[in-house]
Symmetry: C2
Subunit: 166 residues, 2 copies
């Protein structure tokens, strides 16, 4: 049934995810941090794009989603991003998930899973096991999207000789 | 038995908490955000002090604890704050708690509770109910301290006519 699938060109959501992947890839090449990228969109327009900068800034909170939220809220001059959607290359960690809730972002598209992140040496899965975050009704909807595209940048990171693990 | 209690002068922990309260109070007076302050200490020395800046920066992640972590990690030039302790005027929200875990801070002293925050209009308690965060063993130790001192700045906020609720 492959012929019935929408092509990437027809799928704006996947295109935004690919931009998030490009961000993640740029971050890996620059040595800014882990292979994570995020894009915030409002009414089909890109408001912010960001990648993980934990290593380059020393800031343990500089995850891609948090960086994108900071940029978007600064640009829109409001802490209320309820009209926006977020695309992230990986299932948000508990910190990012709570940041998304504070920002009131109602829908998040994510590529790789927490287990994919665990497989390349990040502590997300352990974090979830230790904190047992569980989203209730009326919070945020998490939609899986483009895992295959996102795994590419995970491999890029895993193959990087001079990566800094944090 | 009051005569047996340590005086504030003898209790460095309470003194650090009072500095966190002073930060929170300064933030309220400046209109930077909610009545929350945090101090990060290493080997008895203050590394960073910060207050909530959600309103002034529009950044929904600019909670006192996150701001203090950003400052401390920038100052020490490391994302690993495992040698530090954090004093915060209020029980950390799930975002800050996860940020504390990422920063590897092993011990947190907090003043007011999530219910105290709820009572002056913040969503922390609702957040906890919706996300059901629960800390496992080997994560971070949360120690209640100086709630009475911290409640003062909560009242200061509650009585502020031009406060911005977020």
């Amino acid at each position: 049934m492959t012929w019935m699938r929408r092509t990437p060109k027809e799928n704006p959501h996947l295109n935004f995810m690919k931009l998030a992947v490009a961000e993640a890839s740029a971050g890996v090449r620059k040595g800014h941090g882990g292979p994570f990228g995020a894009v915030i969109v409002r009414k089909g327009k890109i408001i912010a794009r960001a990648h993980n900068e934990v290593v380059s800034t020393f800031d343990p909170t500089a995850h891609a989603e948090v960086m994108a939220i900071r940029k978007a809220s600064g640009k829109l001059k409001t802490f209320d991003l309820s009209g926006c959607e977020l695309y992230t290359t990986c299932e948000p960690c508990p910190m990012c998930l709570a940041a998304i809730l504070w920002a009131r972002i109602p829908r998040v598209y994510y590529g790789c899973t927490r287990r994919d992140a665990d497989a390349i040496g990040f502590r997300d899965d352990l974090f979830y096991a230790k904190t047992r975050i569980r989203l209730g009704a009326g919070t945020v909807r998490l939609v899986p999207l483009g895992r295959r595209e996102c795994l590419r940048v995970f491999r890029e990171w895993a193959n990087k000789k001079d990566r800094v693990v944090y």
